[in-house]
Symmetry: C2
């Protein structure tokens, strides 16, 4: 196996890694503080130079980069990214100007899915879904052994399917009740705010629940705080709806939960599994394992390196 | 191309056809009046004998049958079918006792998807979804050129993903707000009943809306009846939610609408398309054509014949 460079670009952080057989041999990272395209490009070029030693070929034979947003896979242009506020940002072209290496750009969650499927918890499965439960919800679907891309590289945008048609929260995308609005970390926070009127003496809110992070709410729920538990139960309910919908669409062998919130581990898994069973009515029950993802924050960079090795996201590798 | 026998088994009707290159050369049909397994098997055997002349090989080299329900593809056993009330019904084995030919059994909607994709409106597409809008909603997904099967042959059960979490109708499967409960013919009828109190002088209801078929409601809506239009608008709204969710999951090039209700044609398509655009926020808009299916009631038998020719649903034919 060849060494490739995997880059995970996020809204607040970029990490570049030298990856060999799914193992990160070296890494460099930088915070992203300015979302202007040229500034971000400079940071990306910097971290790649740091980790490869000026981008020479012995540092890796190709560069793969996972970015938020919808990506034109042929050119590596970000068609649009709500996180960065970009439209038609030629990220691939800019990196090709700086490095004499093949460059592949794909959606970050799809790269993470490729990473978990190739080297993480999804190894050997033909039907596998990864969800990253963070500020938003990213997703990727491996079906019949193939990473789904779709007609406009939009397959796997599971975070923007709707789980609450009328009584949901507003989503950043403009719709009501997207899976992401209901079951991301932001969703958990919104549930806590929504149920706050029922818990006037709760210390969890203290009038300013919006200052709390989703982690604090989750931990309070684990500790038995009634307000946090009410929010957590609503959160788990909406998470289960989305997972049951995934099963209705693709009937996978495994759904892996990654991202910050998945650190809740068994507290989340033990709560959500029976609810998913309850909502799974037409597929054989109990056939979809719901597990915590394995590669943690490295899934994106490892998957981007896999993409680079395969020569693109669209290569149809089959299990 | 070889001739194969395609059988479409429904809750009220069974049709067997000799199919060559997607063209039905001969057909035989029978009504199904009794859902007891042995009785249905007899009808299936009868129609196959009628069309093949006692099932001799010159009538076709293999038998493919599409049935409602979840099918164990290896054995051809119907694991369960709510329509027939069957559990572990060994349909494939029974047909093998009667005919000296290879027998393949698959879900009816997945067979119809294969039919429309191979010989109907989906020809040449790599990402294609068929929905059959009838009493229920059947579905099938072709993604990256492959018919999705899933871990328990449950992929494509799009009718049982949930589009209304709390304010939906009860579905036959036990859940609330399944796509099928909201956007099938039965769903349209339920919408008409639900909005009836607002239209006390409507002739459409006359106190007994449950005696009306969905076709009558659709036709009344086309004719401008305000009660029927109110129901139709709710119906279109829920249909659009499901279609937008399909786009979020698989971002197909085309979604084809088949089944009885799709005979509404442009009246349905012109209403639903802009609503789907509105609800499609993260995939590039306008990339999914929403069209009427082409093969009509023959899609199932033609697709079953394709399955027979390929030696099963699981054969991964790629475009």
């Amino acid at each position: 196996m060849s060494k490739t460079i995997g880059v995970d670009l996020g809204g607040s952080h970029v990490m570049a890694a030298i990856v060999e057989d799914g193992v990160i041999k070296d890494r460099a990272e930088q915070d992203i503080v300015d979302h202007a395209f040229d500034v971000v490009v400079r940071s990306v070029v910097d971290v790649i130079r740091s980790v490869t030693g000026s981008g020479k070929k012995d540092g890796g034979t190709a560069i793969g980069l996972g970015s938020p947003g919808n990506v034109d896979l042929a050119s590596g242009t970000i068609r649009y990214s709500p996180n960065f506020g970009w439209h038609d940002a030629p990220l691939g072209a800019k990196l090709r100007e700086s490095f004499d290496l093949p460059v592949y750009v794909g959606n970050d969650a799809r790269c993470a899915t490729l990473g978990e499927h190739t080297y993480g918890c999804g190894r050997g499965t033909a039907n596998f879904v990864l969800l990253t439960l963070g500020t938003g919800i990213g997703g990727g679907i491996i079906a019949e052994g193939t990473l789904l891309i779709g007609n406009g590289a939009g397959a796997g945008e599971i975070g923007h399917h709707q789980v609450r048609a009328t009584d949901g929260f507003y989503c950043n995308c403009g719709k009501i009740g997207c899976f992401e609005a209901q079951a991301s970390g932001t969703g958990l926070l919104r549930h806590a705010i929504a149920v706050a009127p029922s818990f006037p003496r709760s210390e969890l809110v203290s009038g300013k629940p919006e200052k709390l992070g989703s982690k604090a709410i989750r931990k309070a729920a684990e500790a038995g705080d009634v307000h946090a538990l009410a929010a957590w139960n609503r959160y788990i309910d909406d998470l289960a709806r989305g997972l049951a919908n995934i099963i209705a669409f693709v009937n996978p062998e495994m759904i892996a939960l990654g991202g910050g919130l998945s650190s809740a581990g068994d507290f989340m898994l033990h709560a959500v599994r029976p609810k998913v069973e309850e909502l799974t009515t037409m597929s054989p029950r109990g056939q979809t394992k719901i597990v915590a993802a394995e590669l943690g924050n490295d899934a994106g960079a490892i998957g981007a390196a896999v993409m680079a090795e395969r020569g693109g996201l669209t290569t149809r590798e089959r299990t």
